[in-house]
Amino acid sequence: MSAQSSQSSLPSRAKAVVIGGGIVGNSIVYHLARLGWRDLVQIDKGPFPNPGGSTGHASNFIFPTDHSKEMTHITLDSMKQYKELGVFTECGGFEVARTSERMQELHRRMSSAKSWGVNDSRIVTPAEVKELVPYIDETVILGAFYTPSVGVVDSVRGGTIMRERAQEMGALQSFGNTEVLSMKVENGRIKSVITDKGEIEADFVVIATGCWSPKLAAMAGASIPLTPAVHQMKDIGPVPRFKDAKGDIEHPIVRDMDTNMYERQHGSGLEVGSYAHRAILYTPEDLPSNAQAALSPTEFPFTQEDFDLQDEQALELMPEIVGDESVGEKYAINGILSLTPDGMPIVGETPEVKGLWSAAAVWVKEGPGVGKALAEWMVLGESEIDMHSSDIARFHEHQKATFHIKERTAEGFNKTYGIVHPAEQWSSNRDVRLSPYYEREKALGAVFFETVGWERPFWYESNKDLLAKFGDAVMPRTAEWDSRWWSPIINAEHLQMRESAALVDLTAFAIFDVTGPSALDVVQRAAVRQMDVAIGKVIYTPILSESGGFKSDLTIMRLAHDQFRVVTGGAHGMADKKWFSDLLPTDGSAQINDLTTAYTTLGIWGPNARKILSALTKDDLSHEGFPFGTCRIIEMGPLRVLASRISYVGDLGWELYVQMEQGAKLWDLVMDAGKPHGLIPAGIGVYGTTGRLEKSYRAYGAELETEYNVVEAGMQTAKLKAQEFVGKAAHLKHREEDPAAILCSLTVDDHTSKSGEKRYMLGREPILTPDGGIITDSHGRRSYVTSAGSAPSLGKHVLISYLPPQHAKIGEKLVVEYLGEHYPVTVASVSSTPLFDAKNERIMS
C-alpha cells in the first residue's frame, strides 16, 4: 500500500484517524500499528513526505538533558527510536557559559543529567571546547556542559520510515493533500472527520497537526492551547573550513546559552538559530495554505531586524566563520513552531470530547517518544513514561484563553535557554483568580505565588517580627540562588504554627462532588482505600493507574449516602476531574459537579486551633467529639461551615469550607478569635513544604507519579478492601514483591560549600553514594531529591528520595550533589515514618 496513491480513495470508516504527517503523526501511526491496531488512516493537508509543517524546517538536533524529568525521559526515548530508525548522527554538543551565573546553571544541568539518566555529560573547560570546535573564540566563554551523545536526526526520513512500517504491517493508509474541513461529535464522542476528499467515521481521532492544532480542536469544540511562534534561523556558507565536510555534521553543536542562540555545522554551512528575539506570535489562522506559502506554510520570510543583535553575538563567539566576508547567508527563515503557556507539550484525550486525542506542541526532539507514549495511552490506557506534565487535561478554564496563551508564551519564549529558578514565578497575566481573602492578605504584605491562576500567599511580610523571636531557628540562607523566591519568614511562620496556630488560605483546592445512586461505585473504583464508610468520614487515598502507579492522591469526604466530595490540589485538579469523569457509568446514574469556585477553604492548624475555633462555635470540637478523619457542618456565628479534621502539616486542626462569598467573613471571625492565642496567617511555604516535609507527607508530581507504586511510597495499608478498584491487580502484586525502592527522608549533615558558604538544596538533585556513585534501583530508576526544604522544628534541611533497599536504612550515609559540589546526608527515616512527632500525638491531641 503506497502513501497517498491518487487512485485509492478515502475509506468511509477507520478505527483511528491520525491527522498530521509530521514526526508526531508518523510516530503515532507506527506505534498504534505496532501495538496491534489496524484500520488506521492518516491524513495531511500537505503532500507526503514533507507536508509543510514544522518538522520540515526543524533544526533537528537533540540535547537530552532538561530540568523536567518527563521531558528528559521522552527525549531519551526519542533518541533511542531515531537510532533504531537509522536516522541519528551523533555529533556531541556543548552548552557554553559566558557568565558565572551560567556556570552555576550548567552545574545544575549536570545534576539534572545525573538525576534523569543522561550518562555521558560533563563540565569542560574553554580549551576542551576549542579542541572540538576549533572555530570558537574560547576567550568569550568560561566553560561548557558537554554531552557527547547529542546528535542530529533526519526527522522527515525517520517519520517516513515509521509511516511505511505501519503501511507494511497492513495497518495504515495515508492520504496527503487531504484537508480536514470539520468534525462531527455525537453524545460527547468523536464521530467522524469530514475532509475535502470525503467523510471518515472513526472511533478515535488524533490531532497531531502542530501549530494548526487549535484550529482542528475547535472544529470538535475542544481546546488545544498553543500558539504558533517564530524561531529565527539562518544558514551561512560555504564555510572554507567545512569545504571538505563529508557528512551533515562533523563538529559538536554549540548552544550559546546566555544569548539564547545556537550554532551548528550543517554540511558546508553554519546554521545560526535564535530564541533571543522578541516573541513573534501568530494564530493558526495566520498561517498560509501550502499553495499560498512562498516557502512552506511554516517558513515565514526572515525579518532581519529581529536578528541584528544575534548577528553580532554569533560574530563574537565564532569570528572565524561568521566574520568571514566571503561567507554569505544562503538561507534564512522565520520558522514557525508551537509554544504552550507552560512550555510543555499537549498530549492525551481532550477533556471535552471522548475519543479525540491531542499530540501537539511536540518538537522534533520529543516526537517519537510522544508518539509512542500517546499510542500506549490510547491502546493500553497508560504510557510507560508518566506524561502528567504534558496531559491536555491539566488546563484550567482561564489557561485556555488566547490572552493567557499569548502572554505566557511571550514571557516563556526568551527563557528557552534561560536560567529558570525552580520556584520562578510568571510576571505576566497575574491576578486572574483571587480568593475572597486576597485584599486582606495583600494588606498583610502577602508575597503571592501563582498556582493555576490563583494568587496564593507564600509568606506574609507582616510576620517579619517573628524572625527576631525565633532567631537562628529560622535557618537563614545567604546564597542568592538558595534564597531566591524564598524567605526565612516561611520558617518563622512554621515555628509559630507549631507553638500556637496558623491560618492558611487553601482556596486553590480543586473540589468536585460525585453524586447519584452510583456515586459510591465510582469513588470505590477510583480509590485504593475503602470508600463505603460512614457519612462524615474523610478518607485520604491514593488513586492508581492500571499498572498500580500513582495517578493522584487526594481526600474524599462522604457527605451523604450518594454524595462524595473530592478535594485535590489545584495544579492537578482538572486531570483528576477527568480521571473521575472517565469512570462515570454511561447510564447517567452518577454525576460530577465541579465546585472548585463554589467553595473556599481555610486551614487552621496548631496546638491552639481547637481553642480558637471553640470561641466561635458551640459545637463539640473535642478530640472525642470531633475525631480525626471526620467532617461535619458546624455553626460559627452567622456561618455554617463544613469542617474537616485532617492535616497536611502535622498539627491539630481543621480545614474549613464555606461558600466563596462567605469566605471573607470566615477569615475575619477566625483571625479575631485567634488574636489572643497567637494565631498568624501562614503561607503555602509552610503548608506545601516545611510542615509537609517534617511529616514526610508525599506530594503528587514530586514523590507520587505513575512510575512509583504504593508500596514504594510507603502508603500501603495492612488490610486491603475487597472491592475492585483501578490498579488493584497490580497493587496486589506490588504488595507481594519486595519494593525496588523505598521513599526515605534524609537530612543534610553539613551545608558548607568549598567557598565556605552554607548552601541549601532546592529539589531534583541526585542522591549519590559517598564516593559520588550514581544510585540506580533494579528498575533502572535513579535516586534523586523529590522534595527539599527546611524542617525548622528539627533545625534540619530535609530531602525526600526514593532509595534502593540496600541504602534505605536509617543512619545510611550518602551525598547529595548540589551545583557541582557534594554534601553529606544521612537517611533519617524510612518509608512513611515522620521525622517530626513520629507518633502523631499532635494531630491526635
Partner: protein
C-alpha cells in the same frame, strides 16, 4: 565611478495569493517582501563596477519606510548609502514614480556615471520608470541589458532579443535597465550586514501626486493544481514514465 541603483520592494508570494475585499490590491497578510532577482543583479553589477573602478554606489527606492529591510540587505553586499523617498506604501504610477526619482537625482551632489534600474518592476511591470528618468535627464538609455562591461567611460551592453544578442556601446553617463543574469548576486555576509546597519540612509518624504491613471481591478487567474501526480508506486510506473517521455518528445 559613482553608480545609482533604483530598486523597489515587492511582495514575496507563493503559488497563489489572495486579493483584498474590493479587488484593487493583493492581500499581504501571509506575504513577506523582497527585491526582484533582476534588481538584486543590478546592485551586484554596481558593486562590481565599484570594485573595478572605485567610486560609490547609492541605492534609491520609492516606497514604504519598511523598505529599509530590503535596502540594508542590499547595502550588506557593498553599496555605500541609500535614499528612501518615503510614501505611505501605496502603489504610484510609473510617471509619478519617475518624477519623484528625477527630482531626487537633481538634488544630489553626486553626478552619477551610471544609473541602473531593473527593466521593469516585478509586481506591476510598467517598463517605464527607467526610460522616463533617462529622458528627463537627457541621458542615453539601453534597456533589457543582460551583460555589462565598462572601458574608458564607455559601457558595452549586451541585450537579449529573442534568440539573438545585440551589443551596444554607450558613453557614460547613461541609464541602463537590466535583466536578471547581468551579474549573479552574492549572498550578504554577517559582517556585511553589521556594517550596513551603520551606513547612511536619507529618508525624504514625498507627496503622492493625483493619479493620472487608475487601477480599477485585479483578477486572479484560475488556480492551477500544484504538485505532482503519482503515476504508480510499483514497477509498472516505469512503463507509464516511458509513455510520458514519448508524449513530450524526450524519447522517440
Amino acid at each position: 565611478m559613482d553608480v545609482l541603483v533604483c530598486i523597489k520592494r515587492v511582495i514575496l508570494a507563493g503559488n497563489t495569493f489572495a486579493l483584498n475585499e474590493d479587488h484593487t490590491d493583493i492581500d499581504t497578510l501571509h506575504l513577506g517582501y523582497t527585491l526582484s532577482p533582476h534588481e538584486e543583479s543590478a546592485v551586484e553589477a554596481a558593486v562590481r563596477l565599484n570594485e573595478e573602478f572605485g567610486g560609490t554606489t547609492t541605492l534609491l527606492t520609492l516606497g514604504h519606510v519598511d523598505s529599509e529591510e530590503q535596502i540594508r540587505s542590499q547595502m550588506a553586499i557593498g553599496p555605500d548609502r541609500a535614499i528612501v523617498l518615503e510614501t505611505d506604501g501605496s502603489e504610484w504610477d510609473p510617471q509619478a514614480t519617475a518624477n519623484a526619482i528625477i527630482d531626487a537625482i537633481k538634488k544630489e551632489e553626486t553626478k552619477f556615471d551610471v544609473i541602473i534600474f531593473g527593466s521593469e518592476s516585478a509586481d506591476t511591470a510598467g517598463y517605464q520608470t527607467g526610460i522616463r528618468v533617462a529622458h528627463a535627464l537627457g541621458l542615453p538609455i539601453v534597456t533589457n541589458v543582460k551583460g555589462l562591461k565598462v572601458e574608458n567611460s564607455v559601457a558595452r551592453c549586451e541585450r537579449a532579443v529573442g534568440n539573438m544578442r545585440e551589443i551596444y556601446e554607450v558613453s557614460l553617463p547613461a541609464v541602463l535597465t537590466v535583466r536578471d543574469g547581468i551579474a549573479i548576486p552574492r549572498y550578504p555576509s554577517v559582517p556585511g550586514r553589521i556594517k550596513a546597519r551603520k551606513k547612511p540612509m536619507d529618508v525624504f518624504p514625498v507627496e503622492k501626486p493625483a493619479a493620472k491613471i487608475e487601477k480599477v481591478k485585479l483578477e486572479l487567474p484560475p488556480v492551477k493544481a500544484k504538485g505532482a501526480t503519482m503515476l504508480s508506486a510499483d514497477a509498472d510506473g516505469a512503463q507509464k514514465l516511458v509513455e510520458i517521455f514519448r508524449e513530450i518528445g524526450v524519447l522517440s
